[in-house]
Subunit: 202 residues, 2 copies
DNA sequence: AGGTTTAAATACCGATTGGTACCTTTATTC
DNA sequence: GAATAAAGGTACCAATCGGTATTTAAACCT
């Protein structure tokens, strides 16, 4: 089947290692030579596989969201009570941003911050992925509201925007040095924003 | 008084312009040539005035906090009701991170995120400045608790940590593209974490 | 075995990086 | 006016940057 010389390293493995470098050091502070040293794939191979540095970063970010990131689709589709699903989601983010096996912080948050004022395609991709999360949470909150799980006066849009932003907050907090227990306490406090589910109608 | 040739540009003016470049583009993506072009001070002058690139960044960050940043000392010393002071503080941060005259986002948040995994002195300075804010808010919340402004079951440490983190959250949100009205709605939601002040004892 | 296809590896490109040596210019002080 | 002090400006340094041309090595197909 596969013609030609076989790859020395699986392409997703290369991508994972490059991802961790970008995640840890950012786009500008990571050189293609660094990536070569970390992955074992020489520069011509990198350019042949991924295009250029920007395209490699974009593919790493996409893989981060779809493979390593906390599944936002899972949250959107969750069936149980909103409070439980939401807490599990935030705890999963907290676990991810303080995981000892990966760089601290959130790769998406890092991307948004590093590229906030630049018109790069990377910035556009970051915004798009962030917006996807916003929509997923919004859908989930509207579903909860329709099911009467929120109080009458609760605003699903405001609540979903707040909790979506908590993912960014957790990333920034981890980058500032907070450890997992601190993030758990933070989540406990943030969860008080959610109004208590009303009793079943009498 | 001052011997020698007078400066072409005031040293604080140079620092302000360098600060905005670092704020907008980060440490790595800002070159000393960029700073020369923006400030009019040639490289030998920059190195003579500020040391090296890291030292220049550190001085720019320090100036950001003490001159441009929202006064955290003011919040700590504020006399009125906690809720009002807190809301004004967060609104001031929201205004700063979306101000059209300066780069979007928060320079301190950017610094923490860019240097999170590096053992640089810049990272240490960022942590220290962030910790200073944490302490200021903690003092203010403990004062409010002692004054009976919070409920009996309220946890001043958890609350102050949460609201201090909102400054990071606002910076990250602005970097993700949120505008001032969005941040105001976000603040409205976050403020619901604060328990209502109890009535005067009966 | 020979040709074809694909990846690895080396070596290189011009441009830019942080940083500096050196000289000139503009001021004050004697 | 001469000496001195400090800043401006040019030109330069080795190292590294993103990116590429070219050759060599390793597999499959006929």
């Amino acid at each position: 089947m596969t013609r030609g010389r076989p790859r020395k390293t699986d392409i997703d493995t290369v991508l994972d290692r490059a991802m961790k470098l970008f995640w840890k050091n950012g786009f500008e502070a990571t050189s293609m030579n660094d990536i070569t040293a970390e992955t074992g794939m020489a520069k011509p191979g990198l350019y042949n596989c991924f295009g250029n540095k920007e395209a490699l970063y974009a593919k790493a970010l996409d893989r981060y969201i779809n493979v390593f990131g906390v599944s936002v689709a899972e949250l959107a589709a969750s069936a149980g009570p909103l409070e439980h699903a939401l807490r599990e989601f935030l705890l999963a983010v907290a676990r991810s941003v303080t995981d000892a096996g990966t760089p601290c912080g959130c790769f998406l948050t890092n991307t948004l911050v590093e590229n906030s004022d630049k018109p790069s395609e990377i910035a556009a991709l970051g915004r798009q992925l962030n917006e996807r999360r916003n929509r997923a949470l919004s859908e989930r909150f509207h579903r909860a509201a329709a099911a009467g799980e929120l109080g009458q006066d609760a605003d699903p849009d405001a609540l979903s925007a707040f909790f979506s932003a908590q993912a960014l907050a957790l990333g920034a907090l981890a980058s500032s040095g907070s450890d997992f227990p601190e993030l758990c306490r933070y989540i406990d406090t943030a969860m008080t924003v959610l109004p208590p589910a009303p009793m079943a109608p009498a």
